[in-house]
Symmetry: C2
Subunit: 172 residues, 2 copies
DNA sequence: CACCGAATGAGATTGAGTCTCATGCAGGAG
DNA sequence: CTCCTGCATGAGACTCAATCTCATTCGGTG
């Protein structure tokens, strides 16, 4: 059920707390441009197209999905350029890598969002985002106790939703 | 400093709360044997050697390190067998995958240990284990609120230890 | 508008992890 | 103890995500 099955990830609340409306896209764009300039890099049409595609991805995505999205919208950006741009977007703090499994890398838009933690139902591979201020507070306290200063974290809770069990119970 | 540098992971407390002494190795061995038998599988010399090598690894390790360890001790176990055995050990609950980065898989012995959470100093790549009952409690509560039942979790806190800054401050 | 250096794309390359298959071995039946 | 069945092993082929190479193409500054 778990190991060999292809990873299909569905994100339950469709980017619920993302900034709504398309007018919010401009800020990200200029943030990215500013970041690039600061690094002595250039804003190109390819990079803009990748950022645009990232913007339309709901929740967690893989590079291959991003490539599909780009192809769908008729844009021709090479795999290499997408990987390179993803790296820059990560450094700019616009997207973030999400550690879900060790097979492929997953990313998510973080600009304008607060959620960065996930629960994954191991029965149906459903992914649920959450954001917990208590978790942040706990993180700060734990680090302070160790003499460190927290700068971020990744949390993934494995859980069972009971749907499968309920279904099995009903048919039994 | 971060992206291209080879990942050298040092585990600060050298398996501090692991069961001490070698007499504790026997139980794991028989647990594994029982697990294998239950699955209709067999305990072989190769599997025992892999388990033995895993037992001597302090903290988090990669497959390649495990292969090195096996070679050092003169054992000749193929890469394929090591990967296969790692899978079985994971299913048996003796080791656990640790999500640290998306490059290679990391594992850790979990039998007889409580720690499963990590802080990573992004300045010197030091990895510090911790175990927090409060985190478990929070995890349970968050899941309950979502109508789920928690079965496990992975947490990785990124932090700075200030050593680098202190050193820089002293030399400045 | 010319130039320089960064950016791109196609394809080669890497490397972790998996698969194949001929051979080997564990361990229960007799 | 020996045989036999079928799981286990090892060498190497294979897969596939990710990276690298390098000739060509642009961006944008002077």
């Amino acid at each position: 059920m778990s190991s060999t099955a292809p990873q299909r990830l569905s994100l339950t609340p469709p980017a619920a707390d993302a900034i709504s409306g398309n007018e919010a896209f401009e800020p990200v764009c200029s943030i990215f441009r500013r970041f690039l300039t600061k690094q002595g890099l250039r804003m190109t049409t390819e990079r803009a197209e990748v950022l645009d595609a990232v913007w339309t991805m709901d929740g967690v995505f893989e590079i291959e999905q991003l490539l599909d999205r780009l192809r769908e919208s008729g844009h021709r950006v090479s795999r290499a350029t997408v990987y390179r741009t993803i790296k820059h977007l990560t450094e700019a703090g616009i997207i973030q890598e999400v550690l879900l499994d060790s097979k492929t890398s997953h990313y998510q838009l973080v600009y304008g969002r607060k959620t960065q933690d996930y629960m994954m139902c191991i029965e149906d591979d459903r992914l649920i985002e959450f954001h917990s201020p208590e978790l942040i507070a706990l993180r700060e306290r734990l680090c302070r106790e160790m003499g460190l200063e927290a700068v971020g974290h990744r949390m993934l809770i494995y859980a069972v939703c009971g749907r499968a069990r309920k279904a099995a119970g009903e048919e039994a």
